[in-house]
Symmetry: C2
Subunit: 376 residues, 2 copies
């Protein structure tokens, strides 16, 4: 259940109540693809760095260790020792980006596993069954994720099929939630808006899926080839058609700049891998710009990655030390960088929430944007 | 200053007082080669898993990031944020095991760096200067570390030179400790006994270095090719010649079995890389034997690595989860395994200390040895 606390323009400050606790929005979900955050970050660490929602990948977990195993171990929460909300994606994005020898039919998609090459079939029912086995808090609908730009006719055909898949997802989720053996009988379903970069298709699709009265709505198929400006244009077009009383999730987005722009346009949920991917390349987000720790000028710099930052890396270690770890290829270097970047994002969202509460979001955004683009 | 609290046979329970705090002995030092423990383990983690002494490698730190840099950053303690004792080795072992194109003269050793190929010269004075820059609590003497077996004549010649190097180490350390710019003016020096597998050479060398009245004495050049039985024979031979009022350090040893046998023979300090190396291959030490987490039978095992273990891995995660992380090549898996194995060793030493205090060490050893050899 989503409760809107206050707004500033289109920016929303809300609470999303789940069986695993409340989520304060806007929120950035921390990505733990295979039930673990890249960079040796554990579920205990996530609590320390202020993570509210962990995101795991259905496709990866289906392939390894298998959702059957995770169900047998009591579900994803117990498996990874995390008691707060978990969102699982549908597997759709990975099927279309990672798997090979793909064949799409009305029933679903058959493809080859990127791990062991075995043939797998996944359709709406399979995706819901896997996510039910994982017992996440929020399941995502199974959709086709297309590249941008794609031909209008193909996008239209794909959108219609994704809608029919969504109806099947909803029916299957209701059936699964009613089974006595289901671990999380209150599993929620978010629908995903598609339509490429075509505003009319986006709006038509959004209106149709909104009528299904799901637990939340995502904007999918963005940040996959189009420019940031196109992305904002699509959000601007589709947002008025999204239910006001449901959370909105912009999938796979993005930079701190993208997040500020999208919050301003009424988005509540975010996730992105650049947070940890940049960290693994020693690119750190700070409130005065991006810091590349590979730069030689940090070799004897005894300041923290970001002055005043309360993350476990900044509270305990210097730029010089972490840079040395990166250069010496010590895993600890990567871990400290990932902890910092995730903390930066979680803290950014906390600042955004506080700003909306006091009507100061527009000012905060204006002040922050130019600094984010700098190089430290 | 070393204080012997109690003994059981030759086994010793003591306290070694240092400028960075007391060390309860027998102790296992946790190896952080490049000022970081392999497996993304930080100095904060070391405190949580009961580490008393961190060990860093002079050769590695000299090559990268350089001891000059670490001196400029305030020394190793400040650099890695660790306020308890640090022991640095002399670089000798790495020069003889890692570096190439080695040339030994009376002055010292010239060799090629394994990182960037540049030519480096290291002799007793250089080793002391580097360790003084690192500002460790305990510096080790620069010695030649030879393989076992080596010809008697060569070992004798090498021992004599290592003794002359030790005299130079002592003089240089005294000079460095008296300089106003030296970070740790109370840096201590441990001498290293050599002599290969020849008891007479070992004893002759030990008697000579004991007369130098150093802060502690190590037995070096063991666990480098000879059998465990030969190692115990050498310890038995040389131990009566080691000062009773100084700590004794068996370098690079070893398995829990080796440690129990060596404690029984009067050794106080240990270090070894197998603790973390085995962990990185998912081989875990437990009180009922060695557990290889790669084994398929652990795939759905919801027990901790070791029942009742209080390490961060066992308190929070199951065998099934950690095994999944290892299989998925998630760094977190390695981190949790390293944390467990280091905790196991630190906890083993705590149990050994408690046993000696109550005269129960012989019984503890007899009970533990057969279990350690089992496969879980």
């Amino acid at each position: 259940m989503f409760k809107l606390l206050t707004t500033e323009g289109r920016a929303r400050r809300g609470i999303f109540k789940t069986v695993h606790g409340d989520v304060q929005t806007p929120v950035f979900m921390n990505v733990g693809t295979s039930a673990a955050i890249k960079g040796a970050v554990s579920s205990l660490d996530l609590k320390e760095i202020g993570c509210q929602v962990e995101l795991s990948n259905t496709y990866h977990l289906h392939v390894r260790p298998s959702d059957d195993l995770i169900r047998d171990m009591g579900g994803l929460h117990k498996f990874m020792n995390w008691d707060r909300p978990i969102l699982t994606d549908s597997g759709g994005f990975q099927v279309f980006s990672l798997a090979s020898l793909r064949k799409i039919t009305e029933e679903g998609v058959s493809f080859q596993s990127h791990v062991d090459g075995r043939r797998i079939f996944m359709g709406p029912e399979e995706s819901m069954q896997i996510q039910s086995n994982l017992a996440s808090t929020i399941a995502m609908a199974f959709d086709e994720c297309i590249e941008n730009p794609s031909p209008y006719d193909y996008v239209k055909k794909s959108c219609d099929r994704t809608y029919r898949w969504l109806e099947r997802c909803k029916a299957e989720m209701e059936r699964l939630n009613s089974l006595p053996e289901t671990i999380n009988k209150k599993q929620m379903l978010f629908g995903i808006n598609q339509g490429g970069t075509y505003e009319d298709l986006r709006i038509e699709h959004m209106d149709k899926i909104a009528a299904l009265d799901l637990d939340g709505y995502a904007i999918g198929g963005l940040a996959v080839g189009e420019s940031a400006e196109e992305m904002y244009r699509i959000i601007d077009a589709v947002e008025p058609h999204m239910p006001k009383d449901k959370p909105r999730y912009l999938m796979g987005v993005g930079t701190p700049q993208n997040i500020l722009e999208a919050v301003e346009r009424g988005v509540d949920f975010f996730d992105c891998v650049i947070t940890s991917r940049n960290a693994r390349h020693a690119n750190l987000f700070t409130d005065v710009g991006v810091l590349n720790l590979n730069n030689n000028k940090f070799a004897r710099d005894d300041r923290p990655l970001q002055e005043g930052c309360q993350c476990p890396a900044c509270k305990n270690y210097s730029r010089a030390y972490i840079r040395h770890l990166i250069k010496a290829k010590e895993m600890l270097g990567m871990r400290l960088c990932v902890l910092h970047n995730l903390y930066f994002y979680n803290d950014l969202m906390a600042k955004i929430r506080a700003a909306i509460e006091t009507g100061g979001f527009a000012r905060m955004k204006a002040e922050m944007l130019p600094r984010l683009n700098r190089r430290v």
